[in-house]
């Protein structure tokens, strides 16, 4: 089995990344003030609500090619954010059979490059692997690692462009542009339009424009429900359409568990082998 060198970027998990839709309850009275929010303020609320200390979710992935071929994967993903803001991610593949038991561990570092290991059950060995580009596809889906990253508020300029109803929910539409040459270089997108639910502060939709300014991908988040035992809202279905390639990826989230008090020891080679 090949070594998926791009795994590292996973650091920015799907969870935080489902980010694109993760949000909590709105503070009382916020809706009344919502008409005055700037794009930045909208995104601050979105960001504040999406972050958790730790999380666990099992995800069913379906990738549909333009020819109708369907590939399916099932992964369980654990994340933890440390007190210093660094993130740790552990992923376990449950399906398909040729990937079952494959594990990926990513540990973010403040003062040096991140660490990443891949566990290959056929070899029974964990192997240190190199990092990846944010623009690479995430485990063969239409999501890039960038799509799954938590929103980096300081790396973008946000402008609230309008408000509109989206699928029966009042939403702000926010334009996000890279704020620096470095951010421009690292991102695969020259521009993003984000539909943020005004009440739940979840992401409802995102239109992603490539460097030529063309609409490249569209993300839809739905089946947004409050996570059991938590005040957080999470999308339970994400669909990313690659409008250029004609492909589509559907993620179905199940068994969300947030803020369970996961320890750092879960994010070690021991559990990479053991499988969480």
């Amino acid at each position: 089995m090949p070594i998926p060198s791009c795994f590292p970027r996973l650091a920015t998990s799907i969870l935080a990344a489902s980010a694109l839709a993760a949000v909590g309850a709105n503070p009382p009275g916020a809706a009344a003030q919502s008409g005055t929010f700037t794009g930045r303020q909208v995104m601050e609320r979105y960001d504040a609500q999406q972050r958790t200390k730790d999380s666990e979710v099992t995800i069913d992935m379906r990738v549909v090619s333009p020819r109708g071929e369907v590939r399916e994967r099932v992964v369980t993903l654990w994340t933890r954010t440390g007190t210093d803001g660094t993130r740790r991610v552990l992923i376990r593949f449950l399906q398909p059979p040729d990937l079952e038991g494959t594990g990926f561990l990513h540990v973010e570092n403040v003062d040096r490059d991140d660490d990443a290991w891949l566990y290959l059950p056929a070899l029974r060995r964990a192997r240190r692997i190199a990092g990846s580009d944010r623009r690479d596809a995430f485990v063969g889906t239409d999501f890039s690692y960038e799509d799954l990253d938590p929103e980096d508020l300081d790396a973008h300029r946000y402008t609230r462009v309008r408000t509109e109803d989206h699928g029966g929910r009042p939403a702000w539409v926010v334009e996000a542009l890279p704020a620096s040459p470095q951010a421009t270089q690292e991102s695969g997108y020259a521009r993003r339009l984000l539909w943020i639910d005004q009440e739940r502060h979840t992401l409802l939709r995102a239109d992603l424009f490539d460097r030529d300014g063309a609409l490249r991908k569209r993300l839809s988040a739905d089946d947004i429900r409050r996570v059991e035992g938590s005040d957080r809202w999470r999308p339970h279905r994400l669909v990313m359409e690659d409008l250029t390639a004609g492909r589509r990826t559907e993620l179905l989230m199940r068994q969300y568990r947030l803020d369970q008090g996961l320890g750092d020891d879960l994010f070690t080679e021991r559990y990479l082998r053991r499988g969480g």
Binding site: P2, R124, D265
Partner: protein
């Protein structure tokens, strides 16, 4: 390799345990793999009429997790080789129980304990034993050791101890099969006085397997591992038997028949070894190394009273260019294996597998689309003796859980090299696997 009923009892027990309603916290998962291989050889040497070696295989595994404090795992294999019946077996690949006791993991039973961070050759894989009854299939056939494993963790570090009371050696090709080497049909008998050397008809046969006395087959080792600022590091120590025998040929001339009987004795010997390995990433390229120093005891190749240690190391680099597990995973790897070997005069027997990697380059390239299949290329170049191996494979996933693979295994090179010896075993291989 045929197993007694003990392992079946283990399986039945595992199932019964899983079914016990009182233990509701248990979680039982199981899987199966059915595999059929059509192997067609490109030549048929004398005495080996079969041009094919078709094989059916079935594996089933079960894993029982008991809360957060333990699990049991077992995998059985049934293999039927239509051409080489010696390879037929009903076999327990692994059967072990794990206990998770705070920072300590305990594993008891038959399990594979792979040590080392190199990819193709692992000098510190002391407990590694393989099924070499078909050399080209060996990488897929690790043999477990029945052992006690203790692994204590602290942060990113761990200390691992493995004790195997009866070390299991690798399985070697049976006489009369394609991987049994062509021994010469005559040997040179030195002349006496002024009479010249003469060639005498000879017959080669396996002699008995022998194990060293004293601690015999007891094997134990310790490995300390950790990660320090982007470097994975380990040191290891081992004492126990060799996994391959030191071949020794005993000849006996029978004046009555005028023939020489050459007996290929297979004495295993004990080793002490210290090893270390590392892995890191430099500018996106994975770099790893692994080496070990060996001190043999009772090695019949070493003259009495002499001590000849040797060193084996592997250096490698790998690079991945991909969309991660999935779309187009490209992985390339290059390794150099080298032994600082004291017996320059020693000519390894054709079955002496340990010496293929005395000075060898190994390469591997894979391009895969998980769920759809991919391409693989592997090669090994024996720089010391001039042998080579090239393997090309293409795989498809026509349906969920189904995998079809076509493979060409080509080997050759200098006749006296191990890989050259087996040039007759070039083959084409079609394999259909169902897994769920």
């Amino acid at each position: 390799m045929r197993q007694g009923p003990a392992f079946l009892v283990f399986f039945v027990g595992l199932g019964a345990w899983a079914g016990a309603p009182a233990l509701a916290a248990q979680q039982l998962e199981w899987g199966i793999l059915a595999d059929y291989q059509l192997v067609g050889y490109l030549s048929s040497p004398d005495g080996l009429e079969a041009l094919g070696r078709n094989q059916a295989m079935f594996r089933s595994d079960a894993e029982l997790r008991i809360g957060r404090w333990g699990r049991a795992f077992a995998e059985i294999e049934a293999r039927a080789d239509h051409a080489v019946t010696d390879r037929n077996r009903l076999y327990v690949r692994e059967a072990y129980a794990d206990l998770f006791l705070g920072p300590l993991d305990v594993r008891v039973g038959r399990a594979v304990h792979p040590w080392g961070r190199a990819d193709q050759v692992n000098p510190t894989d002391y407990f590694g034993a393989w099924d070499y009854t078909d050399l080209l299939d060996a990488p897929e056939e690790p043999l477990g050791q029945t052992a006690l494993q203790l692994r204590w963790y602290r942060g990113a570090g761990s200390v691992e101890v493995v004790v195997a009371p009866r070390f299991r050696a690798s399985l070697l090709p049976a006489a009369g099969t394609r991987w049994w080497p062509d021994f010469p049909d005559s040997v040179r008998v030195p002349g006496t006085g002024t009479s010249p050397d003469v060639l005498v008809p000879a017959e080669f046969a396996y002699g008995p397997v022998s194990w060293p006395g004293g601690a015999g087959r007891l094997a134990y080792g310790v490995r300390i591992s950790g990660a320090v600022r982007g470097w994975d590091l380990s040191v290891a120590a081992y004492e126990g038997p060799s996994d391959l025998p030191a071949y020794a040929v005993e000849t006996e001339f029978d004046p009555a028949t005028g023939r020489v009987s050459a007996r290929l004795d297979r004495p295993y010997y004990r080793l002490r070894s210290l090893g270390a390995d590392f892995a890191t990433v430099m500018s996106g390229v994975g770099v790893h190394g692994e080496g070990a120093w060996y001190r043999p005891a009772d090695d019949p190749r070493i003259p009495a009273g002499e001590r000849l240690d040797w060193v084996h190391w592997v250096l490698g680099a790998d690079y991945g260019l991909s969309g991660a597990v999935g779309e187009r995973d490209l992985f390339v790897l290059l390794e150099w294996s080298r032994m600082a070997w004291p017996f320059d005069e020693y000519e390894p027997e054709p079955l002496d597998l340990a010496y293929v990697f005395r000075n060898a380059l190994l390469a591997r390239a894979e391009l895969a689309r998980v769920g759809f299949g991919g391409w693989e290329m592997e090669s090994a170049w024996d720089l010391a003796e001039g042998g080579w191996l090239m393997r090309f494979a293409r795989s498809w996933h026509p349906a969920r859980g189904l995998r079809l693979e076509a493979r060409a295994d080509l080997l050759g090179g200098a006749e006296h090299s191990l890989l050259g010896t087996y040039a007759r075993n070039r083959r084409l291989h079609v394999r259909l696997t169902y897994e769920r």
